[in-house]
Subunit: 349 residues, 2 copies
């Protein structure tokens, strides 16, 4: 590789601070200041420097900047999946807010696998993420220790649990599902199915189920009244679980752990010629786009995705700047009434 000294006639690669400095007839320090603290430099110098920057098409070298400044202005987000819309809207809002403040977003998805997630966290940290957005509390304590040791700010989102040891911005999955289940019970349903995502390692799924169980117990029924099927989030899985529930038990209502499962259930109901909500009621969770698109419209729980994303971004930036210490925030998740939840029909027999 050719030596690349300051005397070279032909320069290759991207222009550096030094090139700009030379072109503008100032020192590299001045150029740097010009770019980072413009008001510490006289107007005339600044103009000269900016002109040189423009002319050379200079852009700072990220690695060098990160190395020298010890910050990357890059945040990371590890979500379980980008495949369905559950996290997309929140992530989009998160990114928009970061972008507004000159921070870029590193994204990884962990496919609901704890090992993969740990891996991704370490990778993003190694890649220089200054702060991290994490979904849910469930993870090996040593990961938290790792983050704390490294001084990486993080916020746990999509959940709100004041008892959890870490700062979170989200909503109370359990309480929300409990409220919805109370409505279901109030409509006379006694045989209730619950299609859940695998609860192991997923505190949102667990909390949602627990909320339903709470409600059931509160009316004096046994939690076993709830027929649970666990299956990964997907339309097809939702359909299969629904079919199984309907055929093997006498459920009149099926609560779904999220809208994707519910959409699958609705679709299967249609193909089985089961009327919703006349024959069976169905509910979802999340209120993503499809909830409003399916027929009939899905009664679900509206989750403030964008708000979560935005607030998480703000919190992380404040934490990184040392402006604020993490403080859990509870957002509201309300029932969104549409058409899939109705009263139990008189038994036809």
């Amino acid at each position: 590789m050719p030596e690349r000294g300051t005397n070279d006639i032909v320069r290759s690669g991207a222009p550096t601070l030094e090139d700009v400095a030379e072109q503008a007839g100032v020192s590299t320090a001045t150029v740097s200041r010009c770019l980072n603290m413009p008001d510490r430099v006289t107007k005339s110098t600044r103009e000269r420097v900016l002109a040189a920057v423009k002319e050379l098409g200079y852009a700072p070298n990220f690695g060098a900047q990160a190395l020298a400044a010890k910050r990357t202005n890059t945040f990371g987000a590890i979500v379980p999946t980008m495949e369905n819309a559950i996290f997309a809207r929140g992530l989009q809002a998160f990114q928009e807010e970061l972008g507004r403040h000159g921070v870029t977003l590193l994204v990884a998805s962990a496919s609901y696998s704890p090992e993969l997630e740990e891996n991704q966290i370490r990778t993003l940290v190694a890649r220089g993420a200054d702060a991290l957005l994490l979904i849910g509390h469930d993870r090996d304590p040593q990961i938290y220790r790792f983050l704390e040791t490294r001084g990486i700010s993080f916020v746990v989102s999509w959940v709100y649990d004041p008892d959890a040891p870490h700062f979170s911005i989200g909503f109370d999955n359990r309480a929300a599902m409990r409220r919805l289940t109370e409505k279901v019970l109030g409509l006379g349903h006694k045989e209730i199915g619950f299609i859940s995502a695998p609860r192991d390692g997923n505190d949102r799924a667990r909390a949602r189920y627990d909320g339903a169980a709470d409600a059931v117990r509160a009316v004096g029924l046994s939690a076993a009244t709830l027929k649970v099927i666990e299956t990964p989030y997907s339309i097809a899985n939702g359909g299969d679980a629904f079919e199984e529930l309907v055929q093997e038990t006498g459920v009149t209502a099926v609560l779904c752990g999220n809208d994707v499962l519910a959409a699958g259930a609705l679709k299967r109901a249609a193909s089985m010629s089961i009327c919703v909500p006349e024959d069976v009621s169905v509910t979802g969770f999340d209120d993503i786009e499809i909830a409003d698109i399916v027929t009939p419209g899905l009664t679900t729980i509206h989750v403030p995705h964008r708000e979560m994303g935005r607030r998480s971004a703000q919190a992380l930036m404040a934490m990184r700047n040392g402006t604020a210490v993490g403080h859990s925030v509870e957002l509201k998740a309300e029932i969104k009434w549409r058409s899939t939840l109705g009263p139990v029909q008189p038994q036809q027999s």
Copy 2:
């Protein structure tokens, strides 16, 4: 700030290569080799080093690594939006493939704004992206010049256009829409509506419209037969456009630029008590999740999202490694038949 020399008793911050070297009793070069070219180091040394790495919890400093090695192992993707599912699946596949090869993904969304996109591209490049995934060809030539100057590999995806000056991996939007439109015409439709995304600065949208126009002209009709409404991708907009089309013109079929618009159209049709496809046929484009969820199931064009993401990732890695030069790849986009496209009904009057 306290001086941080090698003699400090108390070390703060993350451990460095030097710490590991000291702990293992070797030089930093050896540690670096151990980590990057393990087979150039004796087994015993390697074990000692790895033990030290583990004990100290060492992870390389990203900035330093990027600076010294001149590569970041980070690729960027700029998509128009993450909000709806159009790009999510492709992005997920893209990321999975990158992850398999130790590359992390930087994501930005440009909200269909050329200025924002240019901005994001520059940001990602400045952030050290080694390579970029771009959607569509439409952008200021100077951006391409910029990328080439900087030696950043990129692939244009979601489109396939052998005549375009840049390497792309995608499918022929125009041909696909033409084929679909031919089917529509073949079913006797003569009054056809087209709900498009804004075509300015969006070559996919333009190509889709052009494909439809091609088909219409091919049967001897004027392209003006196609009643076009442009509106940004959203369910509500799709609904509004559909309503306008139906009320102001006598369309018997409405082609939608994507599934999101189509979903909106179907929803509005239902609320207007218009039967699909008996009264009006509707088609989509993309075959995202909702296409299979809406009632009736949406006839649309299946786009190989995952394949595009995967292939794009592979191409970029090959290009970065100098293994291969970009070579456009055309993927198939076939009609996915469901239930929203039917023959024209005899005029009821």
